[in-house]
């Protein structure tokens, strides 16, 4: 191929080649953006399936050294401990509901003269 032919071919195809190169670069960038968008969408979808209440309020059951006292203190449940074995507490109804939310189940409860006392079931041990 002569120099003239090379010259003509270069000038004829430089613009299309440049356009194609830019198109490929933009295409690759679009692919990367799409991949990131899909990753975030998948994360958002997956986190909707996670029971956050279970994770946030009941993960203390997985701790080997967790106790009723540590749970009451950890979740800052307003109550007054009356006895330790079994654990008997004096508290208001909202605090009692919070107890149940964090997995401390009530074995007995009594409400009289505006005073609520609850006796907790034993703190479950790991299986």
């Amino acid at each position: 191929m002569s120099k003239l032919e090379q010259f003509i071919l270069f000038h004829l195809f430089k613009a299309p080649a440049l356009l194609l190169a830019v198109a490929v670069a933009v295409g690759l960038a679009a692919g990367a953006l799409l991949h990131e968008a899909r990753r975030i969408e998948s994360l958002v979808r997956s986190r909707a399936k996670v029971d956050m209440e279970l994770v946030q309020y009941n993960s203390h059951f997985l701790s080997t050294n967790s106790s009723v006292e540590s749970v009451l203190s950890g979740f800052q449940i307003p109550c007054r401990i009356l006895t330790n074995h079994p654990v008997q507490l004096e508290l208001d109804y909202e605090a009692a509901e919070q107890l149940e939310k964090v997995g401390l189940l009530v074995g007995a409860a009594e409400f009289q003269n505006g005073r609520l006392t609850v006796t907790l079931k034993d703190y479950p041990t790991a299986k």
């Binding site: 003239l4 010259f7 613009a15 080649a17 198109a23 679009a30 946030q56 149940e100 997995g103 007995a108």
Partner: protein, 184 residues
């Protein structure tokens, strides 16, 4: 001849391609390529293809940007999980809790939460879990309170946790004892 050569040299350096392809061989020493016209058509076709490819790529990029912006916005919602690592950690905790049967145990044991609408209307009540798989509720109502409303409310709350009323005893003086047991 010298003038023609100089003109050719200048042409090789400066002449726009279209003019070059239109030039006649008499103007240049080197013969003009016979395939020049064919190359020019190929060049135009390649240019059109490149343009279309770029337009397509830009469209896809725009769409991707919109999708990414929308997804990022969703990620900014108030939620403790923001990263893949946090999601994996939460999923591991959830799985471990489910393996220990925590959700199932809790589902049937939140009596105060389930009975709240009824118990909050009573001035005096007692709740006893057991003996066995029973729950006993003893409560006193004010004379103006409708017992059936309280009973319906209790039944509904405990039914959602899988319990059903087993016995009901009216003690008089607006006092009642109800025993619930797990639904078979």
């Amino acid at each position: 001849m010298t003038g023609t050569l100089q003109r050719y040299q200048r042409l090789r350096l400066q002449m726009p391609l279209l003019e070059l392809t239109d030039a006649t061989t008499s103007d240049v020493v080197e013969p003009f390529p016979a395939k020049a016209a064919q190359w020019q058509r190929a060049s135009r076709a390649a240019f059109a293809a490149g343009f279309l490819a770029l337009a397509g790529a830009l469209a896809v990029a725009g769409w991707s940007v919109c999708r990414l912006a929308s997804a990022s916005l969703q990620l900014k919602d108030p939620h403790p999980i923001k990263t893949q690592a946090a999601l994996h950690r939460a999923a591991r905790i959830q799985e471990a809790l489910q393996q220990r049967g925590v959700p199932q145990a809790l589902r049937k044991g939140r009596f105060l939460t389930a009975a709240e609408p009824a118990l909050k209307t009573s001035a005096k009540w007692q709740l006893q879990v057991g003996p066995g798989r029973t729950v006993m509720l003893r409560f006193a109502l004010a004379p103006e309170q409708d017992y059936s409303d309280v009973l319906t409310s209790l039944d509904k709350g405990l039914s959602e946790m899988g319990w059903q009323r087993q016995t009901h005893e009216d003690l008089g003086s607006h006092e009642h004892i109800i025993v619930y047991a797990p639904r078979p």
